[in-house]
Symmetry: C2
């Protein structure tokens, strides 16, 4: 993969008067700044696993040399990757591959906060894997994961408790192929967040997610697992998590009790 410093604008260079290629019918081909190309190259290295989760990538100076651009251009590329949470900058130390296996951000995609006290006061979550089995993708699951109906998927059900109170009931669907070898024993044996397991054992990093939230009433089975009475309103949180290249890799349909917690969202 090489960098093209000249054809960034697809308009024919006006310095080349011969065979003037008129731009075809006002269709302006995409202009791609250098730093965007660098950003792509770094993304590709991340995707290819050239650098491990949590480890440092080469310094800005070194990358500038490798790509034959100025340090400022590399900096701008890294800046964007850092604001997208793919990289983490640490002054004086280096730039690191973002990971879900960090103390600071135990649950990067979880927006549920306790009504009283802070995240620390309720202690760590208790994870209970209820089920994990192979299945075939329904039409809806296939659509969200960009698979075909009937494709092999893993289906996982678990309950998260805070301070011994069951609070989240999750149904998770994963494409079977990238997670070959995952079973209920490995899930139960792993001590950290599930996304950290995906990362360390399957090299699959979830970099962003989209959630759709609705208010629902839990059915009998759901209420039993959450140990609530009947007719309890629950937050239905349907999450699709994406790895690099906007590839959907996980569908997670969760039910949150919101009597002792709330979903918090910042609007910019």
């Amino acid at each position: 993969m090489s960098i093209d410093k000249t054809s960034r604008s697809a308009a024919a260079r006006s310095a080349a008067p011969a065979e003037a290629t008129t731009p075809p019918l006002g269709r302006t081909p995409a202009f791609s700044p250098l730093y965007q190309q660098i950003k792509s190259l770094i993304s590709q290295s991340l995707q290819a696993g050239e650098w491990k989760s949590g480890s440092a990538i080469p310094s800005e100076t070194e990358l500038a040399g490798r790509y034959k651009v100025s340090q400022g251009t590399v900096r701008k590329a890294i800046d964007e990757l850092a604001t997208e949470n793919l990289l983490i900058r640490r002054q004086g130390k280096g730039t690191f591959v973002a990971t879900h296996a960090e103390q600071q951000v135990q649950y990067r995609f979880l927006r549920l906060f306790p009504e009283q006290g802070d995240l620390d006061s309720q202690g760590p979550a208790q994870r209970q894997i209820v089920d994990c089995h192979k299945a075939r993708a329904s039409a809806q699951v296939a659509r969200k994961l960009q698979l075909r109906t009937g494709d092999a998927v893993l289906q996982i059900q678990r309950v998260l408790s805070f301070a011994d109170i069951p609070t989240i009931l999750e149904n998770i669907w994963l494409p079977a192929a990238p997670f070959k070898g995952l079973d209920i024993e490995r899930l139960r044996a792993y001590p950290g967040p599930m996304y950290a397991l995906f990362e360390s054992e399957f090299g699959m990093r979830m970099v962003r997610a989209q959630e759709e939230i609705r208010a629902v009433l839990g059915d009998n089975e759901q209420c039993k697992l959450l140990q609530t009475g009947p007719y309890v309103p629950l937050l239905s949180v349907e999450r699709v998590a994406y790895t690099y290249n906007d590839m959907p890799m996980e569908l997670r349909h969760a039910l949150y009790r919101t009597d002792r917690h709330h979903y918090r969202n910042e609007l910019g």
Copy 2:
């Protein structure tokens, strides 16, 4: 307000050997980069209303001259203000004061999307002001708005409908002082979003907000206003909107029907 290019780092300049002021007990005073100071100055001009909502601020070159810094430093300041949605950059045209009164982002803080079709297909929202009266802040309202219990507030109730289906029931609390003169007639007369009214008629720009979301069952009155049957689960969305300087300016407790819509959230 002047810019201090020298005392950004509070460590005594090592070039001044006389009367060496030992840094008091390892307390490192805050380092503030130049561009952050510029950012503050621009913020203050925004807050003071030096530039109107939706109008262009001076060009980067002009601001660089005014503040006696390089254009690159102004650029970095504006970049951050733009990512915080206080300013909007438009290549070739200028940099503009962000506003709620734009076609593109009719509802900047509303995350509700129709289950079928897109935002356009359901047409514009119908706004029905149910009530608007002066009241005294309860302890809870006062806390959220950083007022004292019993302070004067305006309380507004309204219903938003999409395609003639009542979908959102809102209870809004505003501090009375900054919104003196607002009444139900003016609310009903204004054709645009309420935040645009706050902006154009009271010079009050909401720049960010925080929401707490829970699942609840509507009571009889609420269900009547939303024209649902009883025992319908609803999204409770409690929003505090902030103007400049993290000053809370509005408390909005809304109930969303989520049978035809869902709350959408992007996690980075």
